[in-house]
Symmetry: D2
Subunit: 377 residues, 4 copies
């Protein structure tokens, strides 16, 4: 299989997300890092790209320059990753889709539901892939949960409880720390802080595992550190398209929790429990039976799980490999697309899921500002 | 210390709660099981009491008979435990208090807030102890959490997340099973099922650990098994008297959970985490520090924890001993009372806490029936 | 069922073991604490016994006085617990057996294998019960393991790995602390310290669960704190009567371990894993299958486990209840004996097991002093 | 930093180790996979190499061909990984070192101590790096343990207990399965099976963390499945160069264990505990204090741990990243070497460690065949 030319926008020196994407794209050797516009400061971006091995002519000073440059080339990149500040996602993603590039956009896809809806149209018209990076869905056992639910192992899903709690913003003295403050600044992040930043991963996980959409919700949003305008802790109750009841808790002041993303799924004939911090085990309890520990890498897992594993049972696989699984699914899909086939994108969060998330964020803010009134998405 | 004469009402042959109380009262050798009215079927109750070693004259056929019989004796019982069906708690507790007995009533204290309020008056007038059996507060490390919060170890408490989830009523085929069905029958249990049965323990735990009262709440109550009139799963958001935000989840359809009572407490300078199924460890994370594992029985715990432990570190203590701690605190208090001293009842849930719980149950039902509208207690 | 008169020798004021025995004997209401010789200081022992509720005439100053006093009574005690210093166990146990009392002796049964062997004869001749207090065998799930092994759930047992590691004697500065020092003093404890104190529990557990005897062993005994004459850490390899390979580690310098008694059993068709600090779960892995979590109190456990449980699933039961199970089995057996029936003592460690342990301790010392040479028991 | 040309010998189609090395080498973008001799079947090897992207002229049919071909090039590979069958490691490693290549050899380095010793000389003479792939040492928290021990956080190390137990060869019916059988065939693996395959990782971990060598040992080797000539379970007691006592258990019949590599280190002033299956947490207990949970990625870890981490706290990192850390240390060292500097290879297992391991394997076999007699390495 020939490798795919890949470009990155954003992710400049010192960012966390840039290295994470480059690592994920490199993992399976399916991509060449070929082009980039890594920084809003043109010279810095160009220099950094070259340090990372880009040819000077393809280390651009600006995403528009990159759009023009790559559009003009025969060997142009086949996938562009957008990892810029949130409020630029829409514009860049739209432009690249319209120019015929496949795009993987960091979450959130856009700042408003209206933008997100319009991107759905743009993507469909383009015939290109527009994916959104809900990277935790790449874990083998998350995909196995989805497969188990789909094939009916736990019956109709009655309830899902999901959470994403950490304690890294619990220090009130830190509220003015620029590294933290912007995350609670409506100018920077829009109508929601902790829910939009973390909670949305938990919500997307619920939709991914159950293969249902969120229809309506009620949110209790609070600022545990009073100086914050936006919420640092929220509880969201929701209802899904096939009747599943949902509950979601997110917090950034939960001292003792590190990166507490997890999900419990309760069906008519079984229950499932998984946490991101122990991602290689899935706890499965059939109705009337004992809890079993499903191990990543054990024999007889679903095809979705098997193709998402790289090492043998008992060797932990962590977050970077989950992230890499998103890239490998995309690679297969892009090859299919180039071969004129219909790609299988069943496991990749796409523009529609991204738009649903934006609607959910708006709804959480709306409900949170109205005493938890139930709102439709 | 002389032992205390103790009587039990309810807890007949085959009940779970009767043996639990007798075990708890026996643990420390502080009580004599002296009198009882164990069954609503008079002959059966008398027979069973004698089998358990009661003198025939004190194995009564009926609580009224016991009230009369014990009131007439010089060596009458000093503590009466009420473990009858819920809808009789009020009447019996009231009658024994008025006759000058100390009472430990099973939860729920009453069926309505009005009854509960009136009991507060009765108890105060009687000068006797009216305790309610929130037995999980007896765990040494629960008491230590309360002590840590009280002495400021985690600063002002911002948030508490508590839960009580099990999966023992998840089988829809079981909905008609009499052993399960009554628990969801409004005639039998009133306005709430799973919250009143289990959730209330979690809510009381939150008030016990923070030493705050619940002021208002919003509840999302659902029947995951549709044939049920009352809820089998609920999420409750609440606010406490010193500003703490509360969240509580309870479920009886959470397959894979056994008896999932737990609490997480997040303050300005630290976090705490404890679960009933691993009760001998308490996870404590100071702001800016690492999570530490506090072991029951370690040196230097609070006096409250120390006096609630019986065996050395590393030997687990389970639920019966927690329950026994309620009885031992009561014994000390009864001795003090008899000696004309003011008893220390700081660690025992009393009639006021019982009444607060009844108000909370009513409020949950009210909010649950009104789309989660916030209601005052 | 009438209660059994019970007497205690040793366990004076301030001891840990005395309260533990009294609690265990009290738990199920099957015994009356009727007589005692609680201290080697006659007056102190008499006074303390009376404080604990003994009649003055049965609160003895000395075990010989108690032997004479009780032997002369029609209502004499039916069970005597011996909880005195180790070097007196043999003499007292022998005397009471010969006088026709049932005896529960603390471990170690004797100081030498020769004494232990002679006690076997004494016990058999007496027709009375001579039990040894390996209390950890009282846990419901330990008994369930034994039942699973006996009924072939894991096939022929190939290997057992057992351990008892703690860190409570790891402080070198503590080596002169009298509370610790005596435990490593050959005058006080004989040929072995940590193995005889803790390791022997792990070894007995292996024999209890597999229902096999230890035939030969090789030991590596070390003093991690060099000033100690006897070992504070030992590794023992052994072979059992039906061919099972055994491995045992014990340490008192394992900082971070509290009371780390545990066992792993590996058979031809399954594996089991249990630890004393999480005693309500048993991990079972059938060959070719997933690990299952067996919960104490779940439906369908073995009769041995069921009769050793007191509270419902999800409520932890700890060490005192395990200990209490030894007493309740003894009570049933004593009633049978008094009724002229053959008692079922299958779950109670008896004099033969106690003697095997003494042989094992001697063998460990012998091997440990000879570079780990294999020795027969 | 320019990338390093890298070549792989062995790791043909269907192998596990080949993809693992290619993934590890690719992770940080520090290497170009430039040359290979992937299969002992020349044509298959050439074809597979080209499929993986090698230029035809550098996809060799044979390691000798590769040695000749690469030696002749100006742009020859700077690192060769040897992942061939064990009995060829010595010959190939020696040849490439002598020709001036840096080599990373899979374990075991050689089949005999004599060969291993000779390689030490070859490596020193060559001035090139000869590393051995003890990949588990790449975990960030393993490196942090080493740093903590080195800087005295737990004082003098008294004892280390390490283990590597799995249950993947527990099925007796599998004994004739070719996939399993060769692992117990002396012709294929030499004098030891399970110890040489897995136990040696645990032993190396002990030496890595304590920075001590093993001086003498005593082994109890057994074949739990009797048809096996070599051991499938072993217990090894050992003594280290600074007096630390060591204990090591390894098994391949431990049903329920997946890939149970772990280590406990007990010093005069603290204890440490880590397991490969939960590699992002390290349990640290200071003398007289509580157990603390050290998280990979937390602030203030040692430089060794920090440079071995790629993602933020709470995101698990698994085995492939540990493996990748070996490659990244080697890359830094190779660059230093090329720049004429002395490379820092403190964290990379080198030929001396590899030779020590071979001596240990021989000693285990020798002792195991002599009733566990103590032998010098």
């Amino acid at each position: 299989m020939t490798t795919i030319n890949w470009g990155l926008i954003g992710g400049g020196r010192g960012s966390q997300i840039g290295p994470a994407h480059r690592l994920a794209a490199r993992l399976d050797g399916l991509y060449n890092f070929t082009a980039g516009a890594l920084d809003h400061r043109a010279e810095e971006g160009r220099a950094y790209g070259q340090e990372l091995g880009l040819e000077p002519s393809r280390s651009y000073g600006d995403w528009r320059e990159m759009l023009a440059g790559e559009s003009a080339r025969a060997d142009r990149v086949d996938l562009v990753t957008v990892a810029t500040p949130n409020n630029t996602h829409f514009e860049i993603t739209k432009a690249f889709l319209e120019a015929g590039f496949n795009v993987l956009c960091e979450k959130p896809l856009t700042m408003t539901p209206k933008e997100a809806q319009s991107l759905i149209g743009v993507a469909r018209e383009s015939g290109k892939i527009c994916a959104v990076n809900y990277g935790y869905t790449g874990y083998a056992l998350v995909r196995h949960m989805r497969a188990m639910v789909a094939r009916g192992d736990i019956g109709k899903v009655r309830m899902v409880f999901t959470e994403f709690a950490h304690g890294h913003h619990a220090d009130a003295a830190d509220a003015d720390n620029p590294r933290v403050r912007w995350r609670y600044d409506p100018e920077m992040v829009g109508v929601s802080a902790q829910f939009a930043d973390c909670g949305i991963h938990a919500l997307h996980l619920a939709t991914f595992v159950t293969n249902q959409r969120v229809e309506r919700l009620s949110a209790d949003c609070v600022s545990l550190i009073p100086s914050r305008t936006l919420e640092d802790d929220a509880m969201v109750n929701f209802r899904m398209s096939e009747g599943t009841v949902g509950r979601l808790w997110t917090s950034s002041c939960a001292l003792g929790r590190q990166h507490g993303l997890g999900i419990q799924v309760f069906g008519e004939t079984g229950g499932l429990r998984w946490t991101q911090e122990q991602p290689n085990q899935l706890f499965y309890t059939p109705l009337g039976g004992r809890t079993q520990i499903i191990e990543r890498g054990e024999g007889g897992l679903s095809p979705e799980a098997d193709r998402s594993s790289r090492v043998t049972i008992g060797h932990s696989e962590g977050m970077p490999l989950a992230f890499g699984n998103i890239y490998s699914e995309l690679a297969t899909a892009i090859h299919a697309l180039k071969a004129g086939q219909t790609p299988d994108l069943g496991l990749v969060p796409l523009v529609e899921a991204g738009a649903d998330s934006i609607s959910a964020i708006a709804a959480v803010a709306r409900s949170g500002n109205n005493n938890g009134q139930w709102v439709e998405l």
